[in-house]
Symmetry: C2
Subunit: 481 residues, 2 copies
């Protein structure tokens, strides 16, 4: 579809010439997010206000053009890829923090505010928005809410959904609604503010967010526990939780990830089957006390070494080693790159050892390499598959392994996505995970977007909004190399 | 509507004769919840399983009979009153706690489990489900989820919505769906588990709930701060929050409530304009430290006296004084009873003093007595109006005051219900509070329950589901005295 010049002019008159493009380079660039998928949009717009978003959606509704909202473009599942063309709506110019009301325990931000910027604004008040996604330097609050993003601190502090008090949303007909409240709690009708969380732009475009804020912990400390058996790392986490002691982070890395970061960034991690990085935070005296308990429980659970530290530099090194896993994996083997094919599964916490052992077996059987890491105490496991992207055979074996990994996760009572969202990558598997519930999701989608213009082709299959077969987008990218 | 004998037999064959009634006494009893509303159902059923609920709803759908689910009947807004007759579905026989998996941080309960029973079952594991509703001895988990109930600990621990990981729900056609997961977080499609929270049985009947559980604090302590000026109590709470120090409870009572409990239960509270009961909880050393801070901040904020205690008996006395407010108010003046007319408003925390001052002014202007108390640190204020229930003039003045109180709350950026729900009492005001959003709620209701058989006549106005004028139910009750 090409958008005719008259329409381009009408759109440009809303956002300004400089915030509207049909140039090939822009369309190509905005055809990506951080996933393996790609498709060019027909036009890119960068609105500055809710009223501009509303006007744009009114036009899209009139013309039947798909609208794909986009934040930082850091999503790993293709939710921001305009798979059916249309209008990509880059919301990063809507980057105003409108209110910081810490004595009312909330703040209000536009959708395009970057996660780290918001926390910088909250820091002087000794508050923060806790989810801590790995992409915090670039991802936006709007994107986080639209995917229910979280990160390594979710086990103690919850995910984005747990902080959304209210939203401003532009619906499929361009009308603007305000859902939720400025109060810490409400029982005032359907909790639409929570329905829009994780809806990935398919029910409306989120333009403004009222977030609960949390007191920022005064101090943190970390322990790095090394295990000769992966199962022991799992037992360690279960033992902590059932004390109960809820750490602020519990990052697990398997041997493949350890080797990758030791090779790529000289992280100097112990050469073992699994390491677990535990962070505890809070008041200084409690941090010291909890760190001691963490160390004891690690040893009791079979750790071969346990290092602890409250030195900021040492903790930053460990954190950065963990954060580098995704890129480091691409440097583990010649010609192999790390691909987000199966990724971001979550299982009940106690099933983690079983899950990781099964992933290793599946990898072996399909002759692919799968590195596993993740947020152990909330059961959220990330895997990256190492493939030669120019080998069709690698893709075929990889995709077979992906199916088996997701089947395993579903059989263990888990979910195919803990914090990244569904997008395109997970769509068939989400439907498999929720055989009796996705029909209700589709019913709501049809009620709220009868023309199917809001991020069509995502999350679920329906007439006119077909999810592309997983394989082909991979090959598209492959062809580009 | 009378249900014909053949149908009664069919229904009885599902739940058993003893769990199905059309006796006048039962119909009358099940026509109440704890609100001012009343209407007889046509039949009462007490299913024992999800499959019985499903079969019953299939029959209701076939026959076009309203279905009104009911937990402990402790709701204050009429959500469980079968205002259009039909079938009241008492879920209290579905009282099995199906799983306690603290090392996975969740438990699974049937809808009819009573709040305190669940916490008794979690206690040996050192975990709990925190919301702490005032009616915890009687209210059910299903009812709490259906109304997004909470209580005095919401400021620190959140409301029911923040703990719902997954639900089993029977839809309007009798089909059973499973939404959410057994994992701490998920981004797997629309968060339907959160949409059903607070839907008051209008979108489906919740039969089973997967709840996140939280570590039970080891210790608690309380401070009782007395203020000569209500505004100082508000400043005190704001000062604490912005430190930040988030107490586990902050119970405010105005002079009317103080007088009432001192008269009715000899609580011995200081005879001042306002008292604030603060609870802090957690690890023993932190509790002691925080209690000291609370005391200092109270004095700095103008408290005339501050008592502190970590003695269980003393704390139980204070808590019981606070819990007795609702009934004590009925004994404050001759012939006056305490009525839930305006109740359960929430405002941004810092607006509490303005709100309470306005409530007092409105009461005076309308010559009614309004006692105000509530959970100050989450902005949740309860008012009770003292009326002579046999005086039509009292009702008229009371209802005028109610409208003014809700208008004030909406103008302060608040909500007409923080934790009780909408039901009938709040329906017109919820629509006023959310002028641009309730249309979307109605759209979803129509999509999910096109026949309008699930708790019809509640929450919103629509064709065929008219909300009764507030006044008449009050008079109905009045006529019965």
């Amino acid at each position: 579809m090409t958008i005719e010049q008259g329409l381009v002019k009408e759109i440009a008159s809303i956002v300004g010439e400089e915030n509207c493009s049909t140039r090939a380079a822009d369309l190509y660039t905005y055809g990506f997010d951080s996933s393996i998928h790609h498709h060019n949009p027909d036009i890119v717009v960068r609105p500055k206000s809710t009223s501009e978003v509303s006007e744009l959606i009114r036009i899209a509704a009139r013309e039947g053009i798909p609208v794909v909202p986009r934040g930082g473009g850091t999503g790993l599942c293709g939710a921001a890829v305009p798979i059916m063309g249309g209008m990509v709506m880059d919301l990063t110019r809507m980057n105003e923090i409108k209110k910081v009301r810490v004595n009312d325990l909330y703040c209000v931000t536009q959708a395009g505010v970057v996660y780290d910027r918001l926390n910088e604004a909250l820091a002087p008040y000794k508050f923060f928005f806790p989810p801590t996604p790995g992409s915090g330097e670039a991802c936006t609050i709007g994107g986080m809410v639209a995917t229910n993003a979280s990160g390594m601190r979710a086990v103690k502090y919850g995910a984005s959904r747990d902080y959304v008090l209210g939203l401003e949303v532009v619906l499929a007909d361009g009308s603007v609604i305000h859902v939720g409240t400025n109060t810490i709690k409400n029982s005032s009708g359907y909790q639409l503010e929570r329905l829009f969380v994780g809806s990935e732009g398919t029910l409306g475009v989120i333009t403004e967010i009222t977030l609960r804020v949390a007191p920022k912990p005064k101090k943190a400390a970390m322990a790095l526990a090394a295990f000769d058996r992966l199962e022991d790392a799992g037992t360690f986490v279960s033992n902590l939780i059932s004390l109960p002691l809820i750490p602020s982070a519990t990052e697990l890395m398997d041997d493949i990830c350890i080797r990758a970061v030791n090779k790529a960034v000289k992280a100097g991690l112990p050469d073992v089957q699994a390491v677990c990085m535990i962070e505890v935070d809070g008041e200084p005296e409690m941090v010291a006390k909890e760190l001691k308990i963490v160390e004891e429980v690690a040893r009791r659970s079979g750790a071969v070494t346990v290092q602890t530290s409250d030195d900021k530099e040492q903790m930053a090194l460990w954190t950065s080693a963990r954060k580098s896993v995704m890129s480091a994996l691409s440097r583990l083997g010649d010609e192999l790159v790390s691909v987000s094919l199966a990724d971001d599964m979550a299982v009940p916490i106690s099933r983690i050892p079983e899950a990781v052992v099964a992933f290793h077996r599946i990898a072996e059987e399909n002759r692919v390499i799968v590195g596993t890491y993740g947020h152990a105490a909330d059961g959220n496991l990330h895997t990256k598959m190492l493939l030669n992207p120019c080998s069709e055979d690698d893709w075929i074996r990889g995709e077979k392994a992906v199916g088996q990994i997701f089947d395993t996760v579903i059989a263990l009572g888990g979910t195919v996505t803990g914090e990244h969202g569904v997008g395109m990558s997970k769509a068939p598997y989400m439907m498999k995970e929720r055989p009796d519930a996705w029909g209700t999701m589709l019913l709501l989608k049809k009620a709220m977007d009868p023309q199917n213009i809001l991020n069509p082709g995502k999350m679920m299959q329906w007439e006119g909004g077909i999810i592309r077969d997983l394989r082909y987008p991979c090959r598209d990218i492959c062809d580009l190399r």
